[in-house]
Each structure stands twice: as C-alpha cells, then as structure tokens.
Point group: C2
Chain length 193, copies 2
C-alpha cells in the first residue's frame, strides 16, 4: 500500500463506499470521479476501466485481509489461533463494514472479470482458518476425523461465514453491543478446537 | 404460492436466475421479459416496476425459507433441532444456489426499496435458529450464560452464516462432495447444543 498515490487512494476509497451502498454494477465511473473529487481524465489515467478499478480494489483489500489474518494467527495453534482469527476478522469488519458487505456480495459471484484474482485471494484468507482448523484436529481427534480433516476448506468457510454474518448483524442491527460480546457470542456457537 | 399464475411464476423464476448472475442492479426489465418469454406489457401488468418485482421475489423466497425452517424444526429441541435446521438450510441452498447467492448479496444492503420487508422476513428465518439456540442454552448452561442467551440473535446469525458460506463453498468449489459430508463438516465446526 506504500506505493499507492494519494489520487489512487482517493479513487479506491470512493469506489468502495459507493459499491457498498449501490453494488458494483450500480456504481458508475462518473460517480467514482465525483465522490473522489478527481477529474475524469485522472480517474481513467489511473484505472482504464471499471473492471480494472474494482479488481485493484478487491486485490488490495482481500490481500490485506489475508495478511492481517496470517499475522493474527502467528505461531498460535488450536483454540488460541481460532480466537485470534475471530477477533481479527471482527476488527476488520468493524473498521470497514463497506468492505464486509462487498465481500458478502462478491465472493460467490461467478461472472466477474476479476473472478480468478478474487478466488485466489479468497483462498489465501480462508487458508489461514483452514490451517488453524487442521492443526487443531490432528490424529488425536477420533470420532468424525474423516469429515473434520478432509473438509478443512468447508470448515474454514463455515467459521468465516459465522464471523462475517454475525459481524454484519452486529454492525447493522445491534451496534450498541461491544466487540467482546460479539466475539463471545460467535465463540459460543463454535466448537472449541 | 398456489395463487401464483404461470406467467408470474415464469417472471419470478427468470428474475431470480438473472439476478444471481448479474445482480439485481445489473438486471433490466427487458432482460426479465426476454428470459421469461413474456411480452413486456405482460411483465409490467404483473409487476409495475423492477423494485416491486424483486420485492415480490424476495418476499416469496425468504418467506418460503422461513416456513420450511419452521417445519424442519417442528417439535425438535437442542442439538436435534440444530441438526435438522442445518440439513434443511443446506437442502434449500443446494436446490437453489441462485437464491443463496442473492441472499448473501442482499441481506445487509440498506439502500433497497424493499428493505423493511426483507428485514422482517430475514428476522423470521433467523428466529427459528435463535429459538433452537435459546432452548438449548437454558439456565443449566453456566459459564458464558450471559453471552449465549442474551445474544441468541447474534448466535443465530453465526450459525446461519456458517451454513450459508459453507453451502456456497460446496456448490461453487467442491460440488463433488455429498450433502452428508458437507453437513458433517458444518456440524464439526459448531458447538453441540
């Protein structure tokens, strides 16, 4: 992000705000230029099309999310890792509900120009959860070991979905709660690792 | 749904298919008429605007989801109720991934004409999960009783989000798995009630 110029930054931020309310399809380049306070020429100089603009935005934000999740996990394992990841993802959602809404809307679209980029980044973000889950359910885990280890990807999606939807529920409908309460409610629904 | 005429049915189905790929904003009334195979006059006779069409669609589908969840829960309580709800929601998602994608994209939008209708229905669907969770964590539940009973709404969102995202992950990225495997992976991430 160090290399992002001020103009680029203003454009990307404006695009995110607009898309969170109106959707990507409903957002026009004219509106982005206006909201960012830049001339249209300057907008097109930085991003030659709406597709390229939103690809850059999602790349930047989902990439940053994957990185911050990886940092939050660090050397943690098992339940401690899951708790750190839940807290970090909630922080990201709280700091940027526009991004959270956009992710919920975009991660399963299959008709976007930037689909492959997003899939790769999405996979990277989920991989941190999958890793924590796989580490937790080692050979010691009897019972449903088949389902739990082979399906680490599905389980990572389940945990990610739990945090994403509860986090949005919090921000949109129950903003009076504090983050610790929300994290506790989410962890109360998850099986301890 | 018994009162829905054939033309209405064709229009609603076409609108859902289009919106799942292109988003609601990206879908035009012209495209709906073409995909449904009805004249534009007939489309507008049945739904005088795109907003009214999508409000009717979401009302019908989210309403049907709430009803089918309520039926699946029936007299079940605790873990049995949660398992029945997870299975039912997975069935709905598998039968209609277009609806699941649309729900993920729409449930937190706050700029839609049909917002209040959708919020009410969304609440109805989540209430069935919240009920099962609240029943399960009775006064017997010590430890984090505060978080778990007071926050039944957040916990319901978490469970719903877990099933929705893992369900979409399954359909979009791992369609070779069978439903039982997916249900097992989801239940392996949830704390038994």
């Amino acid at each position: 992000m160090a290399r992002t110029t001020t103009t680029k930054r203003q454009i990307l931020d404006a695009a995110l705000e607009l898309a969170a309310t109106k959707g990507i399809t409903g957002t026009t380049m004219d509106e982005v230029a206006e909201r960012a306070g830049v001339a249209k020429g300057s907008l097109y100089y930085n991003f030659s099309s709406k597709d390229l603009l939103f690809e850059a935005l999602l790349k930047e934000r989902v990439g940053a999310l994957a990185e911050s999740l990886r940092r939050a996990k660090g050397e943690r394992r098992g339940q401690e890792a899951i708790e750190a990841l839940v807290a970090e993802l909630l922080d990201v959602i709280a700091a940027n509900s526009a991004l959270a809404k956009l992710m919920a809307a975009e991660i399963f679209r299959t008709d976007r120009a930037w689909q492959e980029t997003l899939f790769a980044l999405r996979h990277e973000a989920l991989a941190v959860f999958a890793e924590a889950i796989a580490e937790a359910s080692g050979p010691a885990d009897a019972g449903d070991a088949d389902a739990s280890t082979a399906a680490a990807g599905l389980r990572a999606s389940a945990v990610f979905g739990a945090v994403l939807l509860a986090g949005l529920e919090w921000l949109v409908f129950e903003p009076e709660r504090d983050r610790a309460e929300v994290a506790a409610a989410i962890l109360a629904t998850l099986r301890p690792a």
